[in-house]
């Protein structure tokens, strides 16, 4: 809402911490979100919804970037071959 104050420094760090814990969990479970439900909920509780969306997109982007770096670019038509 327009009256909602921006998160303070402490709130930002708490949010980033919860996000990092959730992401570490995903990293150690091959991105299986079902294995990280509790940390996902903690992440959503600690961060504004808009930030959760932003960080979800960031993670997708980072994964995609890593894929490009390790596997190289495969145009959609060639995907079946790899």
């Amino acid at each position: 809402a327009a009256g909602m104050a921006a998160p303070t420094m402490e709130e930002r760090k708490a949010c980033w911490g919860a996000r990092d814990e959730f992401w570490q969990c995903l990293d150690s479970h091959g991105d299986d979100a079902a294995k990280c439900e509790k940390l996902r909920r903690a992440f959503e509780a600690r961060c504004p919804q808009q930030w959760v969306k932003h960080f979800d997109k960031r993670r997708d982007f980072l994964k995609y970037k890593k894929k490009l770096e390790t596997e190289g670019y495969h145009p959609p038509e060639a995907a079946g071959k790899s």
Partner: protein
């Protein structure tokens, strides 16, 4: 002959600087208000080196990181007493939410001399346009919250208000400080 050529180069340089100074106020100018409510334009900052960043207080991660970096770069430069002080500036790209009070609260966590600027949507739009900064507010959610997509750049202005350099996400605080020092040396 070398002396005459050197003198001619100096005169050309003076003339060019005079012309650039005349243009300075028309380029990259802004009409905004600081957190005390005082009107500020670029003229108020002439005579000082300026590091200027556009962002918003509801920013998830990029703006706090860039402001940390900006603060650290200014601190590094402050360590050298031979260098002139650098003025850090923050201009909001979210004037609807970032009023003077919101900016003051937010900027407290960064460099003590960091000045925050806001204004009417038109004034902020004009300031961003003057620096060719892309700004795009995203859709609002059920709570009315939104993020603002924007170019992530820190601009270096010299004491004549001339744009000298800009620094993106990939530059470290040390690299920014080193670059500013280099520009100061050739000024």
């Amino acid at each position: 002959w070398l002396y005459l050529r050197h003198r001619k180069e100096r005169q050309q340089r003076s003339r060019r600087l005079r012309d650039l100074r005349a243009l300075a106020l028309g380029q990259g100018d802004f009409q905004l208000r600081d957190t005390a409510g005082a009107a500020r334009s670029k003229a108020d900052f002439l005579g000082r080196w300026v590091l200027l960043y556009f962002g918003f207080t509801h920013c998830p991660d990029v703006c706090p990181e860039e402001l940390e970096k900006l603060s650290r770069a200014v601190e590094l430069l402050e360590r050298d007493p031979a260098l002139p002080p650098v003025q850090p500036l923050f201009v909001t790209v979210d004037p609807e939410r970032d009023d003077a009070a919101a900016l003051a609260r937010y900027l407290r966590d960064f460099h003590p001399r960091l000045v925050g600027l806001t204004g009417t949507p038109e004034q902020v739009r004009a300031a961003a346009a003057a620096f060719r900064v892309y700004v795009s507010a995203g859709p609002r959610d059920a709570d009315g919250d939104y993020v603002v997509d924007h170019s992530v750049l820190t601009f270096l202005l010299d004491p004549d208000g001339i744009f000298r350099d800009c620094y993106g996400r990939s530059r470290t605080a040390e690299e920014v400080a080193r670059s500013v020092r280099g520009h100061m040396d050739t000024y």
